[in-house]
C-alpha cells in the first residue's frame, strides 16, 4: 500500500509499504477513505518531538471502512462499518478509561517504559506520533491497523460526507475540550491564541458553549478572516499589541478564560525578545518548547481565571511567570484530548446541523501529494489552513 513515511527532519515521502496485518484479536483493519495533516504533525516534520524513527508512518486523523476484524472485537465492529478513528488508542477497561480519561489510558502504549521515563507515567498509545506513545503506524496511508478496535472507534452513519466527520478524530474534540475545560459562563470573555485548525474549532466550541465574547489572536489574514466568520473578534499580533487590545476589549480586566492553541512552536518575532531567546535555546537543545503564549496568557488572564492548554508541548519550558500564575490564583487545565468522552455529543451536533466542521478544509489532494502539502501547510502557502488527503 501507499503511505506517508517519516525519513528524517523535513523529509516525508510517499512510500510503498507492506499492508498492515491483524496482530491481536482486538485489532481491526480499515481501508482509509480520508485522512488529514494535523498541526502537531508539523512538530514531527521538524523533528521537535523526540522518538521518531525513519520508517514511521505519519498521521492520526483518519477515517474509513472496516475491512477485517480480529476474533476478539466481539461484535462491536463488523466488515463494512464506517468509522472515524480517534487519535488516542484506548482499551476501555483500565481505571483511567473507566473515568473517561481516555488520553491517559494505562494499557495501550506498547512502549510504556519510554513514556514512564520521560513523563513519569505512561499515556495512551497514539497513532503515528513517536515511539514515546507506542510507535503505532499512522493513518496517512491506504490501510490502517486499529489496535483495541472494539473500543478505539467512533461509528458514524452513512449519508454524511467524510469531510464533516473526519475531524471527530482529533481537532474538533480537541477544540471542544479546550473550551469545556474553561467552564465557560455566559458573561465570559474567552481569548484564544492561534487560529489554526484547532483554534478555529475552539472558537466555534466557545460560541456553542455560550461565551459572551470570543477573541482570536493570530497574524495570518486568512485565518483571522475565518475566525471572524465564526463569531470572534480578532487581534493581529503583528500589527497590534495583544496585551493592550485585550485590556481594551475587556474594560481593563483581562479575559476570564484563555486558550492556548499554539503550543511549542510559537511565532518568533524580533519585537518579542523572549521568542528569539527561546528559539536560540531550542536550537542548542537547552529548551524543547517555545512557551511565549503561556507567558502572555498568564500575564493577561483575569485573576481567578482559567488557562486551557490544547497546543502541544513536548518537554521543558523556561521562564514561566509562576509568580503571576500563583498570585493571580489562576487554574491551568491541559491534556491530549479524551476523544471518545466528547464524540457522541459532537456527532449529534453535526447530525443536527448545529455545526459543520468541514468549513476549515482549504485543500483536498490525493495521498501521493501529501509530502508537498506538508511544506505548503508549514509555509502557510496558498492560504492553507487544513489539508485533507484522499488515498
Amino acid at each position: 500500500m501507499k503511505a506517508l513515511v517519516w525519513h528524517g527532519k523535513e523529509d516525508i515521502r510517499c512510500d510503498t509499504v507492506t499492508d498492515p496485518e491483524i496482530q491481536d484479536s482486538r485489532d481491526a483493519i480499515i481501508k482509509v477513505t480520508s485522512c488529514a495533516i494535523c498541526g502537531s504533525d508539523l512538530h514531527l516534520f521538524h523533528n521537535f518531538i523526540p522518538g521518531m524513527l525513519p520508517g514511521d508512518i505519519m498521521g492520526h486523523e483518519t477515517m474509513g471502512e472496516v475491512v477485517e476484524v480480529g476474533s476478539g472485537v466481539d461484535g462491536k465492529l463488523k466488515k463494512g462499518d464506517r468509522i472515524v478513528v480517534p487519535f488516542t488508542i484506548i482499551c476501555g477497561e483500565c481505571d483511567q478509561c473507566k473515568r473517561g480519561n481516555f488520553s491517559v489510558c494505562e494499557t495501550t502504549n506498547r512502549k510504556r517504559h519510554l513514556a514512564d521515563k520521560v513523563f513519569g507515567h505512561t499515556t495512551a498509545g497514539l497513532f503515528g506520533y513517536t515511539h514515546l506513545t507506542g510507535g503505532y503506524p499512522g493513518g496517512q496511508a491506504e490501510y490502517l491497523r486499529v489496535p483495541y478496535a472494539d473500543a478505539t472507534h467512533i461509528k458514524v452513519p452513512a449519508g454524511i460526507p467524510d469531510e464533516q466527520l473526519l475531524f471527530l478524530s482529533d481537532i474538533f474534540p480537541t477544540g471542544w475540550q479546550a473550551a469545556v475545560q474553561c467552564d465557560i459562563e455566559p458573561t465570559d470573555t474567552v481569548a484564544i491564541w492561534g487560529c489554526g485548525p484547532v483554534g478555529q474549532m475552539a472558537i466555534r466550541s466557545a460560541i456553542l458553549l455560550g461565551a459572551n465574547q470570543v477573541i482570536a489572536i493570530d497574524c495570518l489574514p486568512e485565518r483571522l478572516s475565518m475566525a471572524e466568520a465564526g463569531g470572534a473578534t480578532t487581534i493581529n499580533f503583528e500589527t497590534e499589541s495583544v496585551l493592550e487590545r485585550l485590556q481594551e476589549l475587556t474594560d481593563g480586566k483581562g479575559p476570564e478564560k484563555c486558550i492556548d492553541c499554539v503550543g511549542m512552536e510559537s511565532h518568533v518575532m524580533a519585537s518579542l525578545p523572549d521568542t528569539l531567546l527561546d528559539r536560540a535555546k531550542q536550537m542548542v537543545m537547552a529548551e524543547s518548547d517555545r512557551p511565549h503564549v503561556l507567558r502572555e496568557m498568564i500575564y493577561v488572564c483575569r485573576p481567578g481565571g482559567i488557562i486551557s492548554v490544547a497546543g502541544v508541548y513536548s518537554g521543558l519550558s523556561d521562564m514561566l511567570p509562576m509568580g503571576a500564575f500563583m498570585n493571580k490564583g489562576l487554574t491551568m487545565r491541559t491534556g491530549q484530548t479524551h476523544v471518545n468522552r466528547w464524540t457522541d455529543d459532537l456527532l449529534r451536533r453535526i447530525e443536527d446541523g448545529e455545526i459543520d466542521p468541514s468549513f476549515v478544509i482549504t485543500h483536498t489532494v490525493p495521498l501521493e501529494q501529501g509530502p508537498e502539502m506538508y511544506q505548503v501547510f508549514r509555509d502557510k502557502r496558498d492560504s492553507c489552513v487544513k489539508v485533507v488527503l484522499k488515498p
Binding site: I12, R13, D15, P186, S225, M283, I355, P357, D379, S383
Partner: protein, 189 residues
C-alpha cells in the same frame, strides 16, 4: 537507509518496500555539509587556537580565533536546524569577518603569508557555496504583503451564528434557573 529502519519495526507493522521521492533538494544536502563543516572548524578554532595562529603567522590573536570558533559553532547549529537559511546567512557574514581578519595578517613581514593567501582562497570558495546555499534555501513563505484568499463566509454554523448564540443563551439561562432551584432546595432545612 530504510532497510535498517525495517529491522527495528515491531513485528507485523508495515515495512518499506520501495521509497518515494524525497522532499530534500541537493541544496539541503549542501546546507547540511556546510553546517557540519562549520561545527568542525569551530571546534578546532575553539580548542586549538594556537595551532591556527601559528599556521597563519598571527600569534597573539588566540582570543579572536576562539571567538570565531564560537561563532562558527553557532552558525553551524543554525544551519542544521529548520532555520537553516538564517544559519547560512550568518555564515556568509562570518566569511566576511574571516576574510577581514586574514587580510589584516597579510603583511610583508609575515613569514606565513603564503598560508594566509591559501586560507583566503578557501574562504572565498566557501563563501561562494554559503551564498549559493543561502540564496537557494530562502523560506518559501509568501511575503507579508502577498494577496491571500480570505474566508469570510466559513462560519461553520449551517443555521447561522445568531441562531447558535440564541440557543446557547437559552441553555445557559435554563441551567441558571435549575441552579437557583437547587440552591433553594438546599436552603430548606
Amino acid at each position: 537507509m530504510f532497510h535498517f529502519s525495517n529491522i527495528v519495526r515491531t513485528k507485523g507493522d508495515p515495512k518499506i518496500l520501495e521509497s518515494g521521492p524525497s522532499l530534500k533538494q541537493p541544496v539541503d544536502q549542501l546546507a547540511r555539509a556546510l553546517g557540519w563543516f562549520s561545527i568542525g572548524l569551530g571546534v578546532v578554532e575553539f580548542f586549538a587556537p594556537r595551532r591556527v595562529t601559528e599556521t597563519l603567522g598571527m600569534e597573539g590573536h588566540e582570543t579572536m580565533v576562539r571567538a570565531f570558533g564560537v561563532r562558527e559553532i553557532l552558525a553551524g547549529i543554525m544551519s542544521l536546524s529548520v532555520d537553516k537559511n538564517a544559519g547560512l546567512w550568518a555564515r556568509v557574514g562570518g566569511d566576511g569577518l574571516d576574510a577581514a581578519a586574514l587580510l589584516s595578517g597579510l603583511t610583508p613581514d609575515n613569514p606565513k603569508k603564503g598560508n594566509i593567501a591559501l586560507a583566503l582562497l578557501m574562504v572565498g570558495g566557501i563563501a561562494m557555496l554559503d551564498y549559493r546555499a543561502a540564496q537557494d534555501t530562502k523560506p518559501r513563505r509568501p511575503p507579508r504583503d502577498a494577496r491571500r484568499k480570505l474566508y469570510p463566509n466559513r462560519s461553520g454554523f449551517p443555521k447561522g451564528i445568531e441562531s447558535i448564540r440564541t440557543a446557547a443563551r437559552q441553555i445557559a439561562a435554563h441551567a441558571g434557573q435549575n441552579e437557583v432551584k437547587q440552591g433553594d432546595e438546599r436552603r430548606i432545612p
